[in-house]
């Protein structure tokens, strides 16, 4: 494996390949962690673009740098090289129009479920109005947590906590959602429901979504485009446009096109696995 071949790989997508003006441009981003005794090379060189309204799913082996990439896109950590552009502006720090779901459910243990959901409002508007409260309650109902709003996070099951995080992020009202395995702790049925809700919200509110997931089916079901990352140090080794029509329905999952796409992603991933 030589570095020039890697460089070739990251040239995709070409800077001018966008349909319109891309909402998000990741340009030659690389990152190593040097705090420890041995530096860890997390991301090699990653470039990608996301169009407004697009849903892009990121698949890749554990430890390949997906979370790191998302953090860089969100402006939470600085890349060693390369740059990120959001809405035509370089991203130096978190942008108010980006919403984040982290891989670990980070609820504040001293806030009730409702107050946790209301946190973004409190931060952005400085205070919480009755209307926000109502909206939060609606979102909690949406994620199936009606009647749990006065519990503390410790009293929730793993999947319930994850859904609170989802409600919190949706209340945020961001244009770009960066989601790191948002449904990982949910059972198949709840997960499907959440997927459908996400698609509905995406359709209604024209959100753009960049999401890490480990479920190939979920990726194909949600995404306009699926990106596959290599093993550490991560780079994007494949992309697959998903041409299933929208709005998508659960039935489609039984369809032939869906199966073909899933298989294709599987093959990409398998190849990656066999590469090293």
């Amino acid at each position: 494996m030589n570095s020039s071949s890697n460089e070739r790989a990251v040239e995709w997508p070409p800077p001018s390949s966008g349909v319109g003006q891309p909402l998000l441009v990741v340009d030659g981003v690389g990152k190593s962690f040097t705090e420890g005794p041995t530096p860890i090379r997390a991301l090699q060189t990653v470039s990608l673009q996301v169009q407004p309204g697009e849903i892009v799913c990121l698949l890749g082996p554990s430890g390949s740098g997906k979370s790191t990439l998302l953090r860089i896109v969100g402006g939470l950590i600085r890349p060693d090289r390369g740059r990120v552009w959001f809405d035509g502006q370089p991203v130096q720090e978190p942008h108010p129009s980006m919403g984040f779901i982290f891989q670990s459910t980070n609820l504040m243990p001293w806030r009730t479920v409702l107050d946790n959901v209301l946190l973004p409002v409190e931060v952005q508007k400085g205070r919480v109005e009755a209307r926000d409260r109502e909206q939060a309650q609606e979102l909690l109902a949406l994620v199936g947590l009606d009647g749990f709003s006065h519990l503390y996070p410790r009293q929730l099951s793993g999947g319930m906590a994850q859904r609170v995080v989802l409600a919190r992020t949706l209340l945020h009202g961001a244009r770009l959602l960066l989601m790191d395995e948002p449904f990982g702790a949910l059972d198949a049925l709840t997960r499907e429901r959440m997927n459908l809700e996400l698609l509905r919200i995406h359709r209604l509110q024209a959100k753009t979504i960049l999401m890490v997931t480990h479920s190939i089916a979920e990726a194909v079901f949600l995404a306009d485009r699926v990106l596959v990352m290599s093993e550490r140090p991560g780079r994007i080794v494949a992309q697959l446009p998903v041409d299933l029509p929208r709005p998508r329905t659960i039935d489609m999952m039984a369809g032939e096109a869906f199966g073909r796409l899933t298989l294709q992603v599987r093959r990409y991933i398998g190849e990656v696995g066999e590469l090293d």
Binding site: R71, G74, L76, E93, P94, H95, P96, M98, G99, F100, F102, S104, N106, M108, P109, W110, R111, L119, P120, E122, V123, Q124, L151, Y152, R154, Q155, H172
Partner: protein, 280 residues
């Protein structure tokens, strides 16, 4: 013996339920024992004190009997002595706390965020804490007079450190994931402080506060010892001077009660602020 048989025999005495129930009632007992024990222990203490005086034959100038002290207590309460001196000491304590704690929070927060700053400043802070107050009392008197101010300063100085350290430790203990969350929401520094750092550090800060309020009382007494004409510390000195050991004990008890009151206040505030810890 087969497994089935075992199930059978053990089912007959409902042990699972049995062991669960005592756990509950033991907890209940302990909780109520506590309220029961407070007067019991207190009474026991008074009894031992009384017996000590009788058996050891201590003259009153060494250790007056509890009854004598109690009578004196009522007396000084009635004639307003206790209230007058107590209020002054309370004022010194409160002003000292206001001064010491506000400084401690600000500086502790800053040092918590910057380890370099801590290494830089800690020698001076340590120095300020280890200079015996009595040794710098002349300087304090020369610079700030022998009135309220010098006592407030002593109080402030002595309350400052525990809250500083606990604020520092508390801020460093904040979950990093939650920092990321707040940053991703573009929370301002003030919001990060108010919505994340303060509530997260609070359990630890309260530990420091508990120390500070008690040291505040000690500080006021030390300040009053080195020159004053009113206050409970002064009353102790005065009582020594007029050979009134019971009065001295009354002043000491008043100081203890003051400390208890402050401690109780902090404890109540703590259990209100940290009520989320008790849920679940």
């Amino acid at each position: 013996m087969t497994f089935e048989a075992k199930v059978k025999t053990q089912t007959d005495r409902p042990r699972g339920e049995g062991t669960s129930a005592p756990g509950h009632s033991a907890g209940w007992l302990l909780q109520h024992l506590e309220y029961l024990l407070v007067p019991v222990v207190l009474g026991l203490g008074l009894f031992v004190w009384d017996r000590l005086v009788v058996w050891q034959g201590y003259p009153p100038f060494i250790l007056p009997a509890p009854a004598v002290v109690f009578r004196k207590f009522l007396l000084t309460l009635q004639d307003g002595t206790l209230v007058r001196h107590g209020l002054v000491t309370l004022l010194e304590v409160l002003l000292g706390l206001a001064l010491g704690l506000s400084l401690a929070f600000v500086l502790g927060y800053w040092l918590g965020k910057h380890r370099g700053a801590e290494r830089l400043l800690s020698p001076y802070i340590v120095a300020s804490q280890s200079v015996p107050i009595v040794a710098i009392a002349p300087l304090l008197v020369i610079w700030f007079g022998s009135g309220l101010l010098s006592k407030v300063l002593v109080c402030g100085l002595i309350t400052f450190f525990p809250t500083l350290v606990s604020t520092m430790v508390g801020i460093r203990n904040v979950d990093r994931d939650l920092y990321d969350l707040m940053r991703s929401l573009r929370a301002s520094r003030w919001q990060i402080f108010r919505l994340l750092e303060l509530p997260a550090a609070l359990p630890i800060i309260f530990g420091g506060l508990k120390l500070s309020v008690i040291l505040a009382v000690v500080g006021a007494v030390v300040g009053e010892f080195s020159g004053a004409d009113v206050g409970l510390g002064f009353l102790i000195n005065l009582a020594r001077g007029v050979l009134d050991t019971p009065l001295m004990f009354v002043a000491v008890i008043a100081l203890i009660l003051l400390a208890q009151l402050l401690y109780l206040g902090v404890s109540l505030l703590e259990s209100y602020c940290l009520r989320w810890q008790r849920a679940a």
